[in-house]
Every structure is written in C-alpha cells, then in structure tokens.
Amino acid sequence: MPDMLRNAQRVEDFEPGAPIPVELPHPPRHEPAARSVHDAGMTAAKGLPDPWTGRLHDIRENRSEAAFVAVFEHFAPRVKAFLMKSGSDAALAEEIVQDVMTTVWRKSHLFDPARASVATWIFTIARNRRIDTIRRTRRPEPEDLPWGPDHEPDATDILGLQQDSAKLVDALKTLPEKQRLLIEKAYFGDLSHREIAAETGLPLGTIKSRIRLALDRLRHAMT
C-alpha cells in the first residue's frame, strides 16, 4: 500500500544542495530560534498531535531522562504485551523491553518523524530485537538511504505522517473483529499464514482473503 505513506521520502525528491522548504503549521512560540532545518522540523513537531515525537526530540537534543521515563511508561507495557503475544514469557519480555528502550535512548537521533510515528519506530525495534533473540543473529535490514544532513525532514511531512498514523489507528479499530484478529495474529503471533491456518482451523485461502480484505479496508481508509 504505497499510497498510505504519501510522505515516504525518495532520494530523487531532493536535489542535492537545494534548500528544503519548511512550512511550519504554526510558528513556534517558546522555542529558541531553530538552528537548522532539522531543529525547525522537530520544534514544529512539538505542537503536533502525537506528543511522543516531541519527547523523542527531548531525548535526542537534551538527553532528557524525564522525557525518556514518559516514553518508557507509555510504550514499555505495550512492547511487553506485544512480546508476550509473540510467545515470550514475562521475564524474557521484560529483558527484551529493557533492550528495546535502551535502543530508543541510544538511537533517538536516527528516529525520523517524517518516515514513521514513534509507535511504528518502536515496533520495528521490538520486532527486530525479538527476531535477534530467537535467531541469535541480526535481522537483515535494507541499507540506509543516502540522506545526508541536507535531507532533514520538513514539518509538513511530519504532520502528514502523524495524521496518516492517527488515521491508521482509527481504521484498525473499525475493522470487523475477525479481520482485525487475523491482522493481529499475523503481526504478533509470530505465525505464518499457513500456521495461522493450522491454529485456527480456517482454510489458508480464507485467511489470505480475510487479511487482504482487512488491508484493502485500511488502504481505503487512508485515501
């Protein structure tokens, strides 16, 4: 569903050296003058619907423990629940939660609010950590796109991404129960479609078409 992430940046969207347009949705009031485009984006992000982007900014720029504790208190229980649904026991889940949240602290400067919501970013860290724990090797990840410091996110992209993310959360809530459960199983159950078929007793074709229907609905909600 490439259209869902209308703001996914492409390398060719940027001309090397060209100034990046920054349109702030509303001017920052209590913030010092932005020193760079990135700061401008992040400062603007503080006024956006998703408060977690601003907290990530505080962690990144000020190494703020208070912001970290807030992020931890919100996301650690969610990450733990995700891990336990994926088959971890409570003790292992808390161990992985520690790793995940430590990674959030260490890699806060790699979080790109124009590409992912904080929840999505933390989801990918938790998923990778879960796989690493099972396989004892690092999960293959695509190479980093060659965005230099000139290619920092702009506030419009951040806003668009946050609006899309909020829409997606709403769209998931309105999915028919059966479809939503299958999506959850596919993501959290650590099961392939074939294994879901074995577990639920539903034919593989039914599962595939339900998941496809669910994704179509989500896609529809995003347009």
Binding site: M1, P2, L5, A8, R60, R63, E65, F68, V69, E73, F75, A76, P77, R78, K80, A81, F82, M84, A90, E94, M101, W105, R106, K107, S108, H109, L110, A116, S117, A119, T120, I122, F123, T124, A126, R127, N128, R139, P140, E141, P142, E143, D144, L145, P146, S165, L168, V169, A171, L172, K173, I183, A186, Y187, F188, D190, S192, H193, I211, R212
Partner: protein, 213 residues
Amino acid sequence: MIEHHLTDDLLMAYSAGTLPEAFDLAVATHLSLCDTCRAAAESYDAVGGALIADGPGAEVSDDCLEATLARIRGEAPEAAPRPIDASGVLPAPLAAYVGGSLDKVAWRPVGMGVKQAILETGEGATARLLFIPAGTAMPDHTHRGTEITIVLQGAFADEGGTFARGDVEIATDADHHMPVADISEDCICLAVTDAPLRFRGILPRLAQPFLKI
C-alpha cells in the same frame, strides 16, 4: 528502473517478522534497491505501529524501569551509521553476509561456467549467490516450494519476462523455468528457496544433493 517487485504477502510477512532468515535477506536486498517497495514495507511497519499504539499494555515491573535507567546512564548516543557505498554490486544486507564486497564471495563451480556460493542463514530456507556467465542457460528446473531470485548484475530472461538489477522473480510449485543470462554481461543473482529445486534431467538431479541446490 525496477519492473518486477515483491508481493504484498512477502512485504507484510517481512514487516511482521515471520519470514525465515534467508527470505528476510532477499527482501532486505530488494528494499535496498527499490524505493517503491521500501515505501510499501514502511506502510506495513505502520500497521504494526498502529497495533502497538492502540493495544492494551502488560504491566511492567518497577525493576524494569530502574534497570533500564541504569543502563542508559552509562550509554553514549550511538554514532550515525556511516554512509553506505552504494556503488558495489552487493547491497549492504548482502555484503554483511558475504563479509565484504563481491571479491569476498567464496564461489564454487557447479558446471557450465555457473558458480554459486551458499550464504549461511537459519533454518527454513536457503540463500545462495549465483554467477551465470553471459549467454548461459541455467538447467531447466521446477520447484517444490517458493524461490525468490533477485538480479544484482546483468540480466536474465525466461517465460516470466526479462529481469535486470533489482528485479525480483518469484517462482512457485507450478512453475518450471529455464532462465538464460543476457548476452551482454555475466549475471549475478541472489536466489532464495524454501525447498530444494528439482531439475528436470537425470544428471542434475543426481548432482543435487552434492551441490545443495
């Protein structure tokens, strides 16, 4: 311009983290070369993010926060990853498995000038690099499972069309095909299978257990 892409099934399973390691490697390799599929993969990640954002939490012990705080107090921020040299034939995820660039690949001849190198991945599927001399045909084969082939250099053609750098061919049980490497350049591919191939001639089939293909 990439014309043959990954399927939604594969992208979603990559995002959910349910693929065998060798398939993860194939997906990561294609995403390194294809902005379209990368954007799609990120949207599947967003579904995972939405499930976490909306989901109920499980109570976390106070010790967990304390232990995490103790860990971050000693942590310096991690250095930004160094820019990747995108000029090589092997995208970064593959280079990590090979241990460097193309000259580090431990090729083994499998006949007719074709060479392969099996990459070490976990259970459930096998990943190997294939080197097919320009103009050479691979032995005709069918599949018991799914085979994903990603072109890294040169091009090949078969019943499914022409495949060049970054293109993905996905073959399933029903297909049997005979890819022929383009005449202009030696072809290098990443091929991932979740079951051994079956060649349609007696000799290659006998050779199969030894070649691990």
